[in-house]
């Protein structure tokens, strides 16, 4: 019974955070742009999310006649499934996790690689040139950034001597891993931005160039799933950063561990939104160059130095 409750909580919390982010992002962006943002529906415009959802449900859910229908319908689901699956290995609290996998980080990396399929298949099945260009960019970008996203986490794995998220949290009892692994954190943060294709790395969507990228042809709740999937992705990356670099659910004991975990996650989400508010989108080749020529050597160097220091200390 308790186990079912945990599963329900782990499903519900990220989904409600992702839905709430629609409102949070619009309000925060407007704060940073000296505007007010949505404040009409309900107190502080909080019901804007519900209004948006109702609107999405009542829109025509159009499947293009020229598309590859089964793949087209399947694609948004893959994104949601891969992201929601990853939440099962993240510890929300000391006992608040679905299963304590001893390959948690690998599970997360594998799932995020599978997430690329959603975008590639969605763009391909749309049978639309803009969607295809968007999907192509997305796959190239995500494959590039996947490489050193994994490498940047290996420093943490070395320090904690484990792939399990819960052991990594427990290993941070004496100090968060952001201090010894600052370079790893920066690299992972940038890779996470690219992985969720958030601004400034929203090149697969790039509405100025590609209409809406890979989800140009999607409408109704299928678009809604891509939309919520993006916010779920931000929540996931923030949660993982909070777990691996900021001590996860560890915190002063006057508040429950779940609170500290969610608090750290929300602060990191706000940083994501701040980046969207402040930075312009780089060119596509700049993005690839930055990935292969700067971040990859940087993460390898970080790995080398961390390993050397650990061996020296032994």
């Amino acid at each position: 019974m308790e186990y079912l409750l945990i599963i329900f909580g782990v499903l519900l919390i990220p989904l409600s955070i992702a839905a709430g982010l629609i409102w949070v992002e619009r309000r925060l962006l407007s704060v940073w742009q000296d505007r007010l943002g949505p404040n009409r529906v309900g107190p502080f415009g909080l019901f804007q999310v519900i209004a948006d959802t109702i609107k999405l449900f009542f829109k025509e859910d159009w499947v293009p006649s020229f598309s590859d229908k089964p793949v087209f319908i399947m694609a948004p689901g893959i994104l949601m499934i891969t992201i929601l699956l990853t939440f099962s290995v993240i510890p929300f609290g000391p006992d608040f996790l679905v299963f304590d996998s001893n390959i948690g980080i690998l599970f997360f990396l594998g799932n995020s690689s599978l997430g690329v399929y959603s975008i590639v298949l969605g763009g391909w099945a749309s049978n639309n040139k803009y969607s295809l260009i968007g999907a192509m960019r997305a796959s190239a970008q995500m494959l590039t950034y996947e490489v050193f996203m994994g490498l940047s986490l290996m420093g943490v794995v070395m320090l904690a001597d484990s792939f399990s998220f819960n052991s990594i949290v427990l290993a941070q009892k004496n100090g968060w891993f952001i201090f010894p692994q600052f370079v790893g954190f920066i690299v992972f943060f940038i890779a996470g931005l690219a992985e969720t294709h958030r601004l400034p790395f929203d090149i697969p969507e790039a509405e100025g160039e590609l209409v809406a990228g890979y989800h140009s042809e999607y409408s109704g709740m299928k678009f809604g799933m891509f939309f919520v999937g993006e916010y779920l992705g931000i929540t996931l990356i923030s949660a993982i950063m909070a777990t691996l670099f900021f001590g996860g659910w560890l915190g002063p004991s006057f508040l429950p561990p779940v609170f500290w975990f969610l608090f750290k996650t929300l602060v990191l989400i706000c940083v994501f939104i701040l980046l969207r508010a402040s930075l312009p989108r780089p060119r596509y080749d700049q993005l690839m160059e930055f990935g292969w020529k700067v971040l990859l050597p940087l993460s390898l160097l970080n790995l080398l130095i961390t390993g050397a220091v650990l061996i020296f200390l032994k």
């Binding site: 407007s30 704060v31 940073w32 742009q33 000296d34 505007r35 007010l36 701040l274 980046l275 508010a277 402040s278 930075l279």
Partner: protein
């Protein structure tokens, strides 16, 4: 690299800035007196129509939204028989106001003219004509220049030259 961090920091500082938004239906924005909004026809200080139906506004109008028909009263003073502005076409450029020799047609700071029915955007003379003098007080075209309307004699207007004696050779 440094400029990126600086950008992020400066954007973050905007939390402490005042919002620029005016919450319109509850808070009305300040509109300067020369704001170009709804078009009105004004009267002079004696409550006579200023418009002399010269058609200059209709000619100046780039979208041809003004139409009027001139007529004369018993004294020979011209006025528009009808004066119609189609506000669904009007672009609020203010050329009519610039063209008007008598300050009759004026744009005022009011923009709340939304209608559900397009036909209601067509304003007739009774909708346009107001009881005041608008932005230019104390101006009366017939006191400055123009034909004798019983307001002043010929050549005695405020900025008017004496009439030339066509039978005299002297300058």
């Amino acid at each position: 690299m440094f400029s990126i961090l600086r950008t992020i920091w400066l954007t973050f500082l905007h939390i402490f800035h005042k919002t620029e938004t005016i919450e319109y239906p509850e808070v009305k924005p300040y509109l300067p007196p020369r704001y170009r909004g709804r078009i009105v026809l004004t009267r002079d200080a004696d409550h006579n129509e200023r418009c002399v139906a010269c058609n200059l506004c209709a000619v100046a109008c780039p979208v041809d939204c003004i139409s009027l028909q001139a007529t004369e009263d018993e004294a020979g003073r011209r006025y528009p028989e009808f004066f119609r502005i189609n506000f669904s076409r009007c672009i609020y450029c203010g050329f009519c106001e610039e063209a008007c020799p008598t300050y009759a047609i004026q744009l005022i700071p009011d923009f709340e003219m939304a209608e559900y029915d397009r036909q209601n955007m067509v304003y007739e003379k009774e909708h346009l004509l107001i009881n005041g003098e608008g932005k230019y007080h104390g101006y009366n075209f017939y006191k400055e220049a123009g034909v004798d309307m019983g307001i002043k004699n010929k050549g005695e207007g405020e900025n008017e030259e004496k009439p030339v004696d066509v039978k005299d050779l002297m300058p």
